[in-house]
Symmetry: C2
Subunit: 336 residues, 2 copies
């Protein structure tokens, strides 16, 4: 029985209905009936064939999936049919390398993405290796949980790895799909949180999302006043940003952590790294373990994606709103 989905048939085009025959259900696989699927900017990049040449058409986007398991392979023991689960970008890895064996298949050189060569969640159902799924805690609504599967995990990972704690001074550059979750997570960790945005209209919302302070990135004096003030700067914006200025906002031993993916090389002054012993680091997504802990943390501490729901049949309208940057803060497609 084929799976009904929405697919791009060539780069930069609208999606159309698409039915495909899934690969046989592997012993480790689970089939999920999709109830919700977030729309990530990476989906747009994939549709447009602007993501590392990973696009192949027909391309079914969608890697912020929530739904119920309707079938499982013989070797799946961690989930039952009927369980509500989430799937993110990661859906496969070599299983043999050091990263895989240390529980970080997201860092495997052979890591596989759910929309890159395999169909994603803009569909009625999707099949995913159950080792990369997470259980959705009871307290999380599916609509608010879906964006956590990619955007939430992406911003949780640096907070987890840097072991931030109450009092850690964090700046979040870019208040969008990622940034609005970063503010909430950082606040829930007890951090002192500053939002940096190019949109003055986001000041009030940033405060509601947990920001203690707000700085307009177009206000040079306001940004300068933040010099040497952050332990961590999470940069969720992409584009060609003033990297040396942002580095100068870090305290000694501070870390600038890239979460957007700038296309241009970063021209970094070594003295800004060396004298105060600052770091630049980056990551995408996180490990399956971090994914599960992130969801439980979000459920417990009230971290919720701010969503705009839309029926999956209106997928092209949804994508158009994401392209225009109109969504505050995450578009979520709903089944039916």
């Amino acid at each position: 029985m084929g799976i009904q989905a929405f697919a791009a048939f060539e780069a930069r085009q609208e999606l159309h209905s698409h039915s495909y025959e899934p690969d046989p259900l592997g012993p480790r696989d689970a089939e999920i009936e999709v109830s919700h699927c977030g729309v990530c900017h990476t989906d747009i990049s994939l549709i447009d064939d602007q993501f590392f040449g990973l696009s192949s058409y027909p391309l079914v986007p969608g890697h912020e999936v929530v739904g119920k398991i309707v079938a499982r392979g013989a070797d799946v023991s961690n989930f039952e049919v009927g369980d509500r689960v989430g799937a993110g970008w990661l859906c496969g890895s070599c299983g043999e390398c050091e990263a895989c064996r240390s529980g970080e298949p997201n860092l495997c050189p052979g890591a596989q993405g759910i929309c890159a060569g395999r169909p994603g969640g803009f569909a009625e159902r999707v099949r995913v290796d159950s080792r990369f799924l997470a259980a959705i805690p009871a307290g999380l609504e599916s609509e608010q949980a879906a964006p956590l599967m990619c955007a939430g995990l992406t911003v949780f990972t640096p907070l987890d790895e840097l072991a931030v704690q109450p009092g850690t001074r964090i700046g979040v550059v870019g208040i969008g799909g990622l940034g609005h979750l970063a503010l909430q997570f950082a606040k829930a960790f007890g951090c002192e949180v500053t939002a940096l945005s190019g949109s003055p209209t986001k000041s009030e919302e940033a405060a509601r999302l947990g920001a203690d302070h707000f700085a307009l990135t177009s206000d040079a004096e306001a940004v300068q006043r933040l010099a040497s003030s952050f332990d961590v700067l999470l940069v969720t914006a992409d584009g060609d940003l003033p990297w040396n200025l942002y580095l100068s906002l870090l305290r000694p031993k501070g870390t600038l952590w890239l979460l957007g993916m700038p296309q241009q090389p970063l021209a970094v002054e070594s003295i800004l790294l060396m004298l105060p012993s600052r770091s630049i680091k980056g990551s995408i997504i996180g490990s399956p373990d971090q994914m599960q802990r992130m969801l439980e943390f979000a459920a417990k501490h009230g971290v919720r994606a701010w969503t705009e729901p839309m029926p999956m049949s209106d997928v092209n309208t949804a994508i158009d709103r994401v392209r225009k940057g109109e969504v505050r803060y995450r578009m979520v497609l709903t089944a039916g």
Copy 2:
């Protein structure tokens, strides 16, 4: 009574004899009779006025000082007259900022250097705030200890802060004054050590210094074979290096640590940082606590600078050999 020293009187010139009246001995100060002083590349940069505008003339270089205390201020209780001590670059800080209060005055924005506005160790005596001195362990010869005060501390700091341990895979780029000590320290920590150098003649010496492996940086294939192999890459060379190539030599979560100070901005590809979650970090010197621990570690584990001694009266010949890159691996001026 004036202090006899050697000073540059203008940029890029030879040093000449120079007598100066020291500031009164402060309550925290110690006066050191210099027995040995290493010649660091930063001394050359200071002589040439190519170090952040910090040079003022007459300029007495020398910040790898070892000698005996011959006088001390009223509030000095951690050292006695006659103690053998070492002084490095750091000689002052604000004492009030977060870095100072957390024991890291080296990261104080107001940190002061011994040759930058204050006379250094190319002299018979030098006065330094005793809070920035370290005791030289009995097992270390002064000639071998002197280069540890700057070069040794500089390479010890990242190993200490990254908490490297037996099995950590470390590459050292550039086998000179810093690099030859980095190989020894890394080996003494039990690490798997690879030396990367542009000089094929250094292969055999690198092995004697503790390197398990050697790669010639001009051999593109040899370097490519090291892809994704290091946890830590200590870059002691300066200049405009192939940063993206070096980043690609790091394993997931690996750290490239800058110890030379490149003049040109580093044009870094974000994808090389983000996909494998790598870091770029940098530092200069280290804290007074790290300085003392570094000396004790060196004494215990047999880390010794390979030195070329020369009487201080031949200072210009010594500097000339450093300028020409002829010294293997550290020139040390001796009293008299």
